[in-house]
């Protein structure tokens, strides 16, 4: 088998193995052309009363909500369940279902948390943060090691040249080391800034109760060793055994996107609910004002 054939083979295998339901398989009731009918020219907007404008907004939101809930969200859940069942089937025995027996009931932190900004929920993935941070730390460490190697080499060279030359080489050496120190500090400071930014994202998920229970302290930005004291989140797929079938990973991906869509659904629900309340208030006002007239 040549190396050219391998990616093609992988494509064929993945196409055959992918049993997930795509949205093309589902019947779409609202097409893009249908949605265009609802469009209203902008110059007429000013003639609409407040209640009409709100009603139009509500109708558009409800259309969006229905499309989201019926198509995307449902599909993610369906595919997630499908892949989970496939993973269960592949393990062979009935007794080894990926279910309640596998749950990790030791104290641990959730991998996703929510932030509430400007009346909307936002999902924050702590696992991604952690992975990105470890990757950046590794890259930084590598850069530092490389810098260290370069400065040591330069010092060695300078020491050689110093034996035969005057004081200017000492200044050169001093500048060199000073420069290397300042760049190291800058990169350190930058790294610490990154830590602060990422910590802000992560802090919302870290409850004070969790800190107490896991015995960690407040983040001290002055020492680099504080990264060891952070609460580590673990990929939840590991609680289902070290050699979980790949369908379980696929199921995990679908459930993660289902969760993101669910948060979007909640945001739209909140907006719809708010609009409905506002329209009801306006309707009552209209009724009372027409009753007075």
């Amino acid at each position: 088998m040549t190396t050219d054939q391998e990616p093609q083979l992988q494509k064929i295998v993945s196409a055959l193995e992918d049993i997930s339901i795509k949205s093309n398989d589902q019947q779409k009731e609202i097409t893009n052309s249908d949605a265009a009918i609802i469009e209203i020219p902008h110059d007429i907007d000013s003639e609409f009363s407040e209640i009409d404008a709100k009603t139009i907004e509500l109708v558009e939101l409800v259309a969006k909500y229905e499309q989201l809930v019926n198509d995307d969200n449902r599909l993610n859940f369906i595919n997630g369940f499908l892949n989970l069942s496939r993973a269960n089937y592949n393990t062979g025995t009935i007794s080894k279902r990926f279910g309640a027996d596998f749950y990790d009931l030791r104290p641990h932190t959730a991998c996703v948390s929510l932030q509430y900004k400007k009346d909307t929920f936002e999902l924050v993935d702590l696992l991604e943060f952690q992975r990105a941070k470890t990757a950046s730390e590794k890259a930084l460490k590598k850069a530092k090691d490389d810098k260290k190697a370069i400065t040591e080499e330069k010092e060695y060279r300078d020491e050689d040249s110093k034996e035969s030359e005057s004081e200017t080489t000492f200044d050169e050496k001093y500048h060199l080391t000073k420069d290397s120190k300042s760049t190291a500090l800058k990169s350190n400071g930058g790294h610490e800034d990154n830590q602060v930014l990422k910590k802000r994202g992560g802090n919302n998920a870290i409850n004070s109760s969790e800190k107490k229970s896991s015995g960690t302290k407040e983040i001290d930005l002055e020492s680099e060793k504080q990264t060891e004291k952070e609460i580590k989140v673990r990929d939840p797929i590991y609680q289902f055994g070290a050699l979980a079938p790949y369908q379980l990973k696929q199921a995990q991906n679908y459930f993660s996107s289902a969760l993101k869509e669910s948060v979007r659904v909640v945001n739209i629900q909140n907006r719809i609910s708010k609009l409905v309340n506002e329209i009801e208030i306006l309707q009552k006002e209209n009724i009372s004002s027409t009753a007075q007239v």
Partner: protein, 125 residues
Amino acid sequence: MSSANEAMAKRSLLAAIADEDSVTGLLLAGVGQVSNEVGKETNFLTVIPGKTTVEQVEEAFDTFTSGRDDIAILLINQHIADLIRFKVDSYTNAFPAILEIPSKDHPYDPEKDSILKKVRRLFGE
């Protein structure tokens, strides 16, 4: 308002009341949190038909909504929400938000969606 914002900032978790497969899926997505604190041991309830009683579901619902102050969204299967429909429909707090999710055996039914019911009521159907 700032105290409300502070209260909101504490609410950062999701909770789940669902059947075994749904809870497995949600745990895979990273929703689960377990702690040693009293009253906040887990943030999910696995409902096993035949074993879990309606009272237990009600109790969990009350704990996740009123009892705990760190939950922002409660995910509940639609068929389990039907068991405590009176509680879910009369729930008026802004937080935590309640979202009904489909399960493997009970797909999404738009007739039971409380938000769409509200809209229908508004338009007088």
